[in-house]
């Protein structure tokens, strides 16, 4: 396809070809003719031939799913992953609750409290994957890039509780420290040369 075809957005005129469909017959004789032509033209047998040919060719396209899996795209947005800070391995989530607020299917809930260091501690966090529509708003709104969508799309479980387990979503600590944790390089991510653009503030202490 050439570029012109994309630029010419008048889809009604281009790239279409018309199938020759005759009008419905209105007269009795016309109907008889149509029936006759349909009967003797052998269209039905063409259909039979096509499927039979495919059967003989045995050109199978099945992916035997649990044994074989199609690769997913790098931006595939499936089950959430909770990111950790590199090196320290602490959870990135600060408990701001923006994901909870923005979630349009109301499936995120979190519990926070004041911890002994006077910081906000996320004591519990759940995403009800049975309700989640994977719109990605939570990942987009997260100021800390803590919640992202991962490539895991298999949610089969015999208990609903398994759909909500926070520890399942959290990046394994060794992955975080070794730096193999996948970053979501999208909206809100730190842009290159960010430090040159930030004005430093003098601190007295």
């Amino acid at each position: 396809m050439s570029l012109e075809q994309f630029q010419d957005r008048n889809v009604a005129e281009q790239n279409y070809f018309h199938v020759d469909i005759p009008d419905y017959p209105t007269t009795g004789w016309g109907k008889v003719k149509r029936a006759a032509s349909r009967t003797f033209k052998g269209e039905l047998f063409v259909g039979l031939w096509v499927v039979f040919r495919e059967m003989i060719k045995f050109d199978i396209h099945t992916v035997q799913y649990p044994k074989e899996k199609l690769p997913v795209g790098p931006r595939y947005r499936a089950v959430h992953e909770m990111q950790r800070l590199f090196e320290s391995g602490t959870e990135r989530c600060i408990g701001c609750g923006l994901c909870e607020k923005i979630c349009i299917s109301n499936c995120i809930r979190m519990e926070t409290k004041l911890d002994e260091n006077s910081r906000k501690l996320v004591t519990d966090y759940t995403i009800n994957l049975g309700r989640c529509i994977f719109c990605g708003y939570c990942a987009e709104v997260c100021p800390e890039l803590a919640i992202v969508h991962g490539p895991r799309y298999e949610n089969v479980s015999d208990q609903r509780a398994h759909f909500t387990d926070f520890s399942d979503m959290l990046t394994p600590i060794d992955a975080a420290i070794s730096g193999t944790q996948k970053e979501f390089d999208g909206f809100g991510a730190v842009t290159p040369h960010e430090d040159e653009r930030v004005k430093t503030t003098p601190l007295a202490y």
């Binding site: 600060i94 408990g95 701001c96 609750g97 923006l98 909870e100 607020k101 809930r109 979190m110 519990e111 926070t112 409290k113 004041l114 006077s118 910081r119 906000k120 501690l121 519990d124 759940t126 100021p143 800390e144 004005k199 503030t201 003098p202 601190l203 007295a204 202490y205």
Partner: protein, 829 residues
């Protein structure tokens, strides 16, 4: 509205009152002028300077510039925009970027104005200082987040009266002086001030010494002052606001219960905090922190319910407290009509009797004024009420009128109250002996009554207290003296300096003793008024126009209460004072109007929220569970004679009184079906519950429920009152009252206010009886004896102690015969 004038704001003509601040006028007409530091009903502080407007071509601050007829105001000019932008940038300097976790996030005025003004870059900077967050018990202060708008200090001083917090030096680097030339004027001035101060306790101690109302946390525009309990518990936007009416005292403050699911597993709603419209209503600590008194986990226990029905069929008496809605009171009234129960509620009964006796002279079913009038008045008298604990809102009104209207006040109460004394030097406490409330009322008549019209025998009786006496007073007079001083003078001829003796006239104050004849008022002596009472009063009364009188529960329970009621009516009638009566409990007024109460108790009693043969209890400790007031919808009648709606904040699983009533033959689907039927009671309207509003308008108008109609009563021509009897309580005294933050067992049921009751005594009391805090004390009166733990209360003074009613384990009411004071003997165990 008086003094209607017309001003123009941004081309829009609006009507307002002469002398109204431009900001308030604009707000009342839905014109937006940003303001961070200003609080309606409090004095302008000019801390933020963001309310800049141009009035008739001159730049003024809208919060303290008064509107004049024909004024033309522009809210935005180029200069104002520059100033605003600079001010908001300054506020954002060093403000921690922790909106993600800040409790105020979502309802933060700094966030709002920063976005409104559109601050997207920062031109200013100053080295930050390290500021340690402090925990003041119920209140948490994080100075790092503080923008020193001074709203907290303002409200604490002008509204609450504690003046417990003030601005303190911040320390740290001064501003770069270059900024003075670079920056807009107001922004620099604001920053200069901001950068020097922080908020701290008034006595610079570590702990905040106040009545813990928490109003400072409510008014704080940022997350600097927050409730310790709420901190990091939930985000503001997750909360659902349930408009309600506070169920603790008779003030009937409008509040909203902020509810959200309890936690991840539990979807039941939980109250996380209480919010108020702080511009128009101030809450006390009980209202703010005592919210989770619900009867949780109540279920429909059918056997208990059947037992209740059986008990109701057997019973001939229902005893109850006034912590119920008007609708429940009405159900009780209907039950009395249908089945002839005796209704027992002593506390409401005495109030009712008092009101009836009052009505006979005043010709009105109800007292004339409300707390709004107290706010507006400039001379306030309180008799017979421990204001601080009986009705904190009455105290706020008292304080607000004195602070804002340059007012003055008298406070008659046997207990010396440092909080009242600390309000202002224009408040005089008269700590009379118990039972002397009558004398106080006579004094009121004597001092303020229109003697011409006052019945002759009363005038005569009052005159009998007066006598002439000679006293020696020290007077300061100014005397002219001539002084010789040496002055260095330039000799014009010589050009040299020389000392010259010059005579100078000077006025010097001199104290002179003088014998004068003065009027001696025996009533004052009987009340134990300070010696300089007359003088002070003269000073207090200067330029005063609006007078109000608040009378409290001590009067209703007084042995001579019927006489007191007549005296109160006479005071209202023959003086300029507007009268407010403080009902003791949340719905005492409503109950006393709706129910026809009895005195005699029958053989088998049902108790509603009070112990009896069969107990219905909203505290969950009775034979059948009842919903607490935060689990019910209905109306409550407040001190302001307003029928206020309250809504269900938390679900309730058990039976309600209406179920019992239905089982006994009444027929209403919901309790609130009776709201409409309240109309049959004098003063109430036939309005259905769902039509009752519950909010404030921008102009501060209270649109809540409806006001009770003023019903005229046939007045009797007999205005005679009894003369004073010589009664007094000898020996030590014990008072029946609650400490700050407590009203009933319901306040005590909340997790933040929960505590154990005991004998509360002042320092003086404890040293007199050689008691220490924590000692077990036997308190014995003629009626009985209880054992209580000695608790030190620094909010009272004088050699007096009191017993609370909030702790159900402490049967303190049994010690009193009705009057809230009793003679008692204390023995340490």
């Amino acid at each position: 509205m008086e003094n209607n004038i017309t001003i123009t704001i941004d081309g829009k003509e609006i009507q307002t009152r002469e002398g109204e601040f431009i900001l308030n006028a604009a707000r009342a007409n839905n014109i937006f002028i940003p303001a961070i530091c200003y609080l309606t009903r409090c004095s302008p502080t000019l801390a933020c300077r963001i309310c800049l407007v141009e009035a008739d071509g001159k730049q003024v601050y809208a919060c303290n510039a008064k509107a004049k007829d024909g004024m033309n105001i522009t809210t935005t000019t180029e200069n104002i925009e520059t100033e605003k932008r600079a001010i908001m940038e300054v506020y954002d300097v060093n403000h921690p970027l922790e909106c993600g976790v800040c409790d105020q996030s979502g309802e933060c005025e700094l966030q709002n104005y920063t976005l409104e003004v559109g601050v997207d870059s920062q031109s200013y900077s100053v080295p930050d200082t390290h500021k340690e967050a402090v925990d003041w018990g119920l209140i948490h202060y994080d100075p790092a987040l503080c923008i020193v708008c001074e709203r907290c200090t303002t409200v604490c001083k002008d509204m609450i009266g504690d003046a417990a917090i003030k601005t303190v030096p911040r320390g740290g680097d001064a501003l770069n002086t270059d900024y003075k030339a670079q920056m807009p004027k107001d922004a620099y001035a604001m920053w200069n001030k901001l950068n020097k101060s922080l908020i701290g306790t008034a006595d610079r101690s570590d702990m905040l010494d106040c009545t813990d109302c928490g109003e400072c946390t409510a008014v704080c525009p940022v997350g600097a002052l927050v409730s310790s309990d709420f901190q990091y518990a939930s985000n503001a936007w997750e909360q659902k606001q349930v408009p309600a009416t506070c169920a603790h005292c008779s003030a009937g403050c409008q509040i909203s219960y902020d509810v959200k699911h309890t936690d991840i597993e539990n979807s039941d709603e939980k109250i996380y905090r209480v919010k108020n419209e702080w511009n128009y209503v101030s809450l006390c600590g009980a209202g703010r922190y005592g919210y989770d008194f619900q009867n949780a986990d109540a279920v429909k226990d059918e056997t208990a319910f059947n037992a209740a029905i059986a008990a109701f069929k057997k019973a001939d008496t229902i005893a109850f407290t006034s912590s119920i809605t008007n609708e429940e009171a009405f159900i009780l009234r209907r039950l009395k009509e249908e089945r002839g129960y005796k209704l027992i509620n002593n506390e409401a009964k005495v109030f009712k009797t008092f009101l009836d006796d009052y009505s006979k002279i005043s010709g009105q079913q109800l007292y004339g004024a409300d707390l709004k009038m107290v706010h507006a008045s400039d001379f306030v008298v309180s008799i017979g009420s421990a204001l601080k604990t009986d009705n904190p809102n009455a105290r706020f009104a008292f304080n607000n009128s004195i602070t804002m209207n340059k007012g003055a006040g008298l406070y008659f109460h046997p207990i010396k109250d440092p909080v009242i004394d600390g309000l202002s030097k224009n408040v005089m406490s008269i700590n009379h002996a118990p039972l002397q409330e009558e004398t106080a009322l006579y004094l009121m008549l004597d001092l303020f009554a229109d003697k011409e019209n006052l019945p002759k025998d009363i005038t005569k009786y009052l005159d009998s207290f007066h006598s002439k006496k000679m006293i020696t007073i020290e007077e300061t007079i100014k005397e002219e003296i001539i002084e010789k001083v040496m002055v260095k003078q330039l000799n014009k001829e010589t050009g040299e300096e020389e000392e010259v003796e010059v005579e100078k006239k000077k006025m010097v104050p001199k104290k002179v003793s003088k014998e004068v004849e003065v009027d001696d008022n025996a009533l004052l002596a009987q009340l134990g008024a300070p010696a300089d009472f007359d003088e002070k009063l003269q000073k207090f009364l200067k330029k005063k126009e609006k007078f109000s009188l608040m009378v409290g529960p001590d009067l209703y329970t007084h042995p001579n209460s019927r006489n007191l009621a007549r005296l109160v009516a006479l005071v209202e009638k023959y003086t300029q004072f507007e009268l407010v009566m403080i009902p003791a409990l949340a719905n005492t007024l409503g109950v006393s109007l709706i129910c026809d109460l009895d005195e005699e108790v029958g053989e088998y009693t049902i108790g509603y929220n009070t112990k009896a043969d069969f107990t219905l209890s909203a505290l969950g400790d009775g034979d059948l569970d009842m919903p607490a007031l935060n689990q019910q919808e209905g109306t409550l009648t407040s001190i302001n004679k307003r029928v206020n709606p309250t809504n269900v904040a938390l679900s309730y699983g058990g039976y309600v009184l209406n179920d019992i009533a239905n089982a006994l033959g009444l027929d209403a689907k919901y309790t609130i079906d009776y709201t409409k039927e309240l109309g049959v009671v004098k003063g109430f309207s036939r309005e259905s519950f769902d039509d009752l509003p519950n909010h404030y308008t921008n102009s501060g108008e209270e649109v809540r429920g409806y006001l009770l109609k003023r019903i005229g009563i046939r007045r009797s021509s007999n205005e005679s009152v009894n003369e004073l009897e010589d009664i007094a309580i000898q020996s030590d005294i014990v008072y029946l009252a609650n400490p700050v933050l407590q009203f009933t067992a319901f306040t005590n049921a909340s997790h933040q206010l929960h505590g154990e009751g005991g004998l509360y005594g002042s320092e003086a009391f404890m040293s007199k009886h050689a008691l220490n805090a924590g000692d077990k004390v036997n308190v014995k009166t003629a009626q009985g004896e209880v054992r209580a733990v000695m608790i030190h209360d620094n909010k009272i003074d004088g050699e007096i102690a009191y017993l609370p009613t909030f702790d159900v384990n402490l049967n303190s009411e049994a010690l009193f015969s009705g009057y809230r004071f009793s003679s008692a003997s204390y023995t340490k165990v």
